[in-house]
């Protein structure tokens, strides 16, 4: 088959203990049978491992942090585009989605496609708005409250019993068993991710996740549910297995149909002792375990790029159940000149 040549820029090349999805997204794209993909990595820091993976990343450029504003991001992308002629950008960090959503039309005018949720979809699924989201779409979610001042914690903890989850607006979650702990985590999380933090009812149970892709018209293009088998102290799945739970797929379909979700997503679910699922979080992007979806027969990064390019993409009808991913770390030996190049010139 003649594979369509495309140049795709991918962010989130980091791989710390809370790894970014960039490298597994690239692995999926490189294994595509329909696309011949040239990868342009977009990095923030000079030590992101993906920068140095020359076998799968063809070129890397540093880009400014989202906090520096969309104009400086756009200026940098214009420069990169002038060199690389980008077809598609896949942003993979929560914090950079909003700027990329805002830039969608301007990028399109330059000839660069994205396939992201709308601003409304992005906002209403936000952790802060999750209770309203659950009510609107008839999805069971745990009670939660946004908190801007640590003095509010005492009052809220009278309404919601401990233990409670203290969550950052983008990342991080800690279980607090009393108000003192909650205040401690408030400061820790807000220092890193800003305000508000979210206090969420703690649901005891087994963690499941669903990775999916919606076409923006209410149709499911892809969905793979997993059970987390090995969870780090950061709550990240370091091992998982694909499962065939129809309830999770039905919930995913309901989510896609009712929101007309556009783009990739991850549903974080907790199954309680009554075997009922609560939706803990909706991540509006590809999760770091996306490579399992490729391994079970649903190449979500490939489908995402094809949707972004305006191609007709058929929905995946099946996936292999009982396939596992087991994550590991890998030490690369890197020449100082590579590090020097990216650190000094912002390109490699």
């Amino acid at each position: 088959m003649n594979r369509r040549k495309v140049t795709v820029a991918v962010t989130a090349l980091n791989a710390i203990d809370s790894p970014g999805p960039g490298v597994p997204v690239i692995r999926g794209l490189k294994e595509s049978e329909m696309l011949d993909v040239r990868i342009v990595g977009l990095s923030y820091e000079s030590l992101e491992p993906g920068i140095y993976m020359h076998d799968i990343v063809d070129k890397v450029y540093q880009i400014p942090y989202p906090s520096s504003g969309i104009e400086s991001l756009l200026a940098r992308i214009e420069y990169i585009h002038s060199k690389e002629n980008l077809d598609v950008i896949i942003p993979n960090f929560d914090a950079e989605l909003f700027p990329f959503i805002r830039l969608e039309e301007r990028l399109r005018a330059m000839g660069i496609r994205t396939f992201l949720p709308t601003e409304k979809q992005f906002d209403e699924r936000h952790k802060i708005n999750l209770p309203a989201f659950g009510k609107k779409y008839g999805i069971k979610v745990p009670a939660s409250e946004p908190v801007n001042d640590p003095n509010e914690i005492g009052k809220i903890s009278k309404e919601m019993k401990f233990p409670l989850l203290v969550k950052g607006k983008f990342y991080d979650a800690f279980v607090a068993f009393n108000a003192d702990q909650a205040r401690e985590y408030f400061h820790k999380v807000s220092a890193k991710w800003g305000l508000p933090i979210i206090l969420q009812e703690y649901v005891k149970g087994i963690e499941y996740n669903v990775i999916g892709l919606g076409d923006g018209k209410g149709n499911r293009i892809a969905a793979v549910p997993i059970r987390k088998q090995y969870i780090t102290d950061k709550g990240k799945a370091w091992g998982g297995i694909s499962v065939g739970d129809e309830k999770m797929l039905a919930l995913t379909d309901h989510f896609i149909q009712s929101t007309k979700w556009r783009g990739p997503f991850e549903l974080e679910l907790m199954k309680d002792e009554k075997n009922e699922f609560s939706l803990l979080e909706i991540n509006p992007r590809i999760p770091a375990w996306v490579y399992l979806s490729v391994g079970v027969g649903q190449n979500i990064p490939e489908a995402l790029v094809r949707l972004a390019l305006g191609e007709k993409v058929d929905a995946f009808s099946h996936y292999e159940i009982g396939k596992m991913f087991i994550r590991y770390s890998w030490d690369m030996i890197v020449d100082l000149k590579d590090y020097q190049q990216i650190a000094t010139y912002g390109e490699l």
């Binding site: 499941y208 088998q229 499962v243 065939g244 739970d245």
Partner: protein, 85 residues
């Protein structure tokens, strides 16, 4: 009659995988034998008769162990729900 979900997988080594929940278990040879009989749809009296023939076990102890085993299968969602007590 107790009915097991049709998609529960059992390997020759006694490894059980529930594809609905992602849980897996290991059975000893006796558990494996009991599991297979239940999966085949054999009723309690038939299973009891065979076990009492093969093993030196008191009727009352077998009954208790059988009920415990089936209870575990229910709690791990391996049995059809309409059969639950």
């Amino acid at each position: 009659m107790k009915k097991m979900k049709s998609n529960i997988a059992l390997s020759e080594s006694g490894f059980v995988f529930n594809p609905n929940t992602g849980e897996s278990f290991t059975l000893n040879p006796v558990g494996q034998q009991l599991f297979e009989m239940i999966r085949e749809g054999q009723d309690y009296q038939s299973i009891r008769k065979k076990f009492l023939e093969i093993y030196e076990v008191e009727d009352s102890i077998f009954e208790k162990d059988y009920e415990d085993f089936v209870h575990l299968l229910h709690s791990y969602q391996m049995m059809e729900p309409d059969e639950q007590a």
